[in-house]
């Protein structure tokens, strides 16, 4: 069956892969930023994503705001939630032991997931977009595409460009990179590294919030448990793409989106979740530090 796939089908599968990839890029970039600066793996990252989706959902319903603009509200709210989480939870266990940090994020998964369930039940929701009924036709490959798909890709590109500029071109971006490359040297430069922790955590969760909003516009994927798996996959992506590498997270996210949709197409839906981990284990068996990871001193 996969052998006789026509061009338009192939193109469509690639597009689904890229669109899912966009979500993974946003999620992985945020996770990567937090890991780079704090050397903490926040397994609860996906819950911030879903929380961000909920914020946009309620804002678009109660304030009647276009969901693409409610992303900004979501970024702000989740950014602050992220900052508070760092301040109240992560800062206190930072450096005590890796296990504590990992289990703390596990605890946050439980708290956030179930708090969302208690507040909004497990019902699956989808943010309705004003462009819901508009489709665009591409003559050359003869496919119809929902306009929202194109907008989502566009928004992701814009946000990632903004993120890239912030990291590469601004003073605070430099400070963030300095902190992630050499924490004690960064302190000696006069950088307040605790502030950088807070800022990167907030920025990382804000990126997750945009991922959550875009996801909820495309799919009815807004329910409290929906974030757990994507966050784990995002982590495998940054392991493969090189912990701390901004480009690695982008390329890895897109590549993984493609891998996942091809896995569904070729192997079947059962393998959707398994494929990420299969790749991860294979890679780690060969290179215990990750595909592009560096040996630690």
């Amino acid at each position: 069956m996969p052998l006789e796939i026509s061009l338009s089908t192939l193109v469509q599968i690639v597009i689904w892969g890229l669109i899912n990839g966009c979500i993974y890029v946003l999620l992985a970039s945020g996770l990567n930023l937090i890991f780079g600066v704090m050397k903490v793996v926040n397994f609860a990252h996906g819950e911030f994503m879903i929380l961000g989706g909920y914020v946009s959902y309620w804002v678009s319903i109660y304030a009647g705001l276009n969901p693409y603009f409610s992303i900004f509200v979501s970024i702000g709210v989740i950014g602050i939630v992220g900052v508070l989480t760092e301040r109240v939870c992560f800062r206190r266990v930072l450096g005590t032991s890796k296990l504590n940090e990992i289990v703390l994020s596990l605890g946050l998964i439980y708290v956030l997931q179930n708090a969302m369930s208690v507040l909004w039940t497990d019902k699956e929701r989808q943010i309705s977009s004003p462009f819901e009924f508009i489709t665009v036709h591409f003559e050359i490959i003869n496919i119809n595409m929902r306009l929202d798909l194109l907008i989502v890709i566009g928004v992701t590109v814009l946000i990632m460009a903004g993120f890239y500029i912030l990291i590469k071109r601004t003073k605070i971006g430099r400070a963030i990179r300095a902190t992630s490359q050499n924490r004690s040297a960064a302190m000696l430069m006069g950088i307040n590294v605790e502030y950088m922790d807070m800022f990167s955590f907030g920025l990382g969760t804000a990126l997750a919030a945009t991922a959550g909003t875009l996801l909820a516009i495309l799919f009815p994927a807004l329910y409290p448990q929906a974030g757990a798996m994507p966050a784990l996959k995002a982590f495998t992506i940054i392991v493969l793409g090189g912990l701390g590498s901004t480009i690695g997270a982008i390329v890895g996210g897109l590549a993984y989106g493609l891998a996942e949709s091809s896995a569904i197409a070729i192997l079947g839906g059962t393998w959707r979740d398994a494929i990420a981990f299969a790749i991860l284990i294979l890679v780690l068996v060969i290179r215990p530090t990750g595909l592009f990871g560096e040996k630690e001193a």
């Binding site: 069956m1 796939i5 026509s6 338009s8 089908t9 469509q12 599968i13 689904w16 899912n20 369930s117 039940t121 497990d122 019902k123 699956e124 989808q126 819901e132 009924f133 489709t135 496919i143 119809n144 595409m145 929902r146 798909l149 495309l218 799919f219 009815p220 994927a221 448990q225 929906a226 949709s261 569904i264 197409a265 079947g268 839906g269 059962t270 959707r272 979740d273």
Partner: protein, 442 residues
């Protein structure tokens, strides 16, 4: 010294809680004998929409029965009231077992009713089997619940359409109605088979739907072929890749088997994201308010197999009364009436039939109740039966009529309504192809 006080306090609190928990289990004796019916439903997890409907229907049935004076049980020489105990299986097997254990052993129920997801029910029925508690299963569609061979299922009854029924009705409808319509409208070569694609939930229910479809097509020798078969994981929200592959196979119709949220979303995504403009056929599990709500105008012209038409124009007086009572009793947070679903209708019937059986038995002895359920004969209620009577066959299954509804979008009320288009005996309207329907002639 202060810390020691803290500790003593903590230990004291823990001890008090421990003692009270133990005492609770030790001392709880029911104050007065009532008929205790235990409802097993998924109130949380992926099956919560259907579970909530079962709960509402069960409460309604119990309230009606009690309002009418309860059930006369000759052993007690008086009418007993019915109390409903609810156990949440959380749509997970292990939690289902715990819920049923609790209903049987802690709440001391006389009879069980409910059970939604097939795989959950296969697990949660085990304590009922082991403790010889009659269990009228109203949700799980796998025939295994009464036909499994590893356990004695003599206390299990299946008041529900089974997967075989879904598929039988659907393939017959495809052959009897859809294929001729396509040929009449010049949409397909009369010489070729009808091209059917299937997209099912990767669990006992979904895969069962596929297996039985294949079986019926072969057994009945129908000119239908399955051109694409895709699965999705329970709880999935993104069906685009599977739908794209289905689109590539150029089907005339898509038969999809999922729970409410999955099915409605996959139809929406097929039309909206993928642009697969075809006929989508859902099965009766989706007969819930949420299904219509999510679909909205995307549901226009789409198909639902069912045996309880909550939105269809009146086809049975009992159903009309039930819908009116239900909507009177249940309103959502905004005060709008909630529309009943199919699983609730099953459960509602089942509670009446259980009470009838208890009345016949004249006792609350579980074995006697079981015998009376096995031999029950009463008029059909909400679910229409092939011979108009409720009775169980040798497999402890019923023989219901299921039908096909087509949805239409009413843009003035912004609501979906449905009409029965198959079988002819119940037909309210003719089946129509969607205006933007696309397929290949040859």
């Amino acid at each position: 010294m202060k810390k020691r006080t803290q500790l003593i306090l903590a230990v004291a609190i823990i001890a008090i809680i421990a003692v009270s928990i133990a005492a609770y289990y030790y001392l709880t004796v029911p104050p007065e004998r009532t008929i205790k019916i235990g409802l097993v439903a998924s109130l949380t997890g992926p099956g919560s929409a259907e579970g909530a409907d079962m709960q509402r229907a069960a409460i309604l049935a119990v309230e009606e029965i009690n309002a009418a004076g309860g059930v006369y049980v000759s052993e007690y020489g008086r009418n007993l009231t019915v109390t409903l105990e609810i156990g949440d299986d959380k749509t997970k097997p292990a939690d289902g077992v715990i819920a049923v254990e609790e209903l049987i052993k802690s709440k001391n129920v006389d009879v069980l009713v409910g059970g939604l997801s097939s795989s959950v029910t296969l697990a949660s029925q085990v304590p009922a089997i082991d403790n010889n508690v009659p269990f009228v299963i109203t949700g799980a569609s796998t025939p295994q619940v009464t036909r499994r061979t590893d356990k004695n299922t003599s206390y299990m009854f299946h008041y529900c359409t089974i997967i075989d029924d879904y598929s039988e009705t659907i393939v017959k409808f495809l052959n009897h109605t859809v294929r001729p319509t396509l040929i009449d409208e010049g949409r397909m070569d009369p010489e070729r088979n009808l091209r059917l694609a299937m997209l099912v939930r990767n669990d006992a229910y979904g895969i069962g739907c596929y297996d039985t479809t294949v079986r019926f097509i072969n057994d009945l020798g129908l000119p239908i072929e399955i051109v694409e078969y895709q699965k999705f994981e329970p709880g999935a929200t993104d069906f685009t890749t599977q739908l794209t592959l289905i689109q590539a196979a150029k089907p005339d119709a898509v038969y999809h088997a999922g729970l409410t949220a999955e099915s409605s979303n996959l139809v929406k995504q097929g039309l909206q994201n993928v642009g697969l403009k075809t006929i989508y056929i859902a099965v009766e599990v989706c007969q819930t308010p949420q299904f219509y709500e999510i679909l909205g105008s995307w549901g226009d012209y789409q198909i639902l197999e069912s045996k309880f038409g909550s939105k269809a124009a009146s086809y049975s007086d009992a159903v009309d009364t039930y819908i009116a009572n239900y909507m009177q009793r249940w309103k959502d947070a905004q005060g709008n009436p909630i529309i009943p679903g199919m699983m609730g209708a099953d459960t509602y019937d089942a509670i009446y039939l259980i009470c009838k059986a208890i009345e016949n038995a004249g006792t609350l002895d579980k074995a006697k109740i079981r015998d009376e359920i096995e031999n029950i004969e009463m008029d059909q209620m909400l679910i229409m039966m092939k011979n108009g009577m409720i009775w169980f066959d040798q497999n402890h299954e019923i023989d219901p009529i299921s039908f096909i509804e087509q949805m239409t979008w009413n843009s003035t009320t912004s609501q979906l309504t449905t009409y029965i288009v198959y079988p002819d005996s119940l037909k309210q309207r003719d089946f129509e192809l969607p205006p933007d329907y696309e397929n290949e002639y040859s």
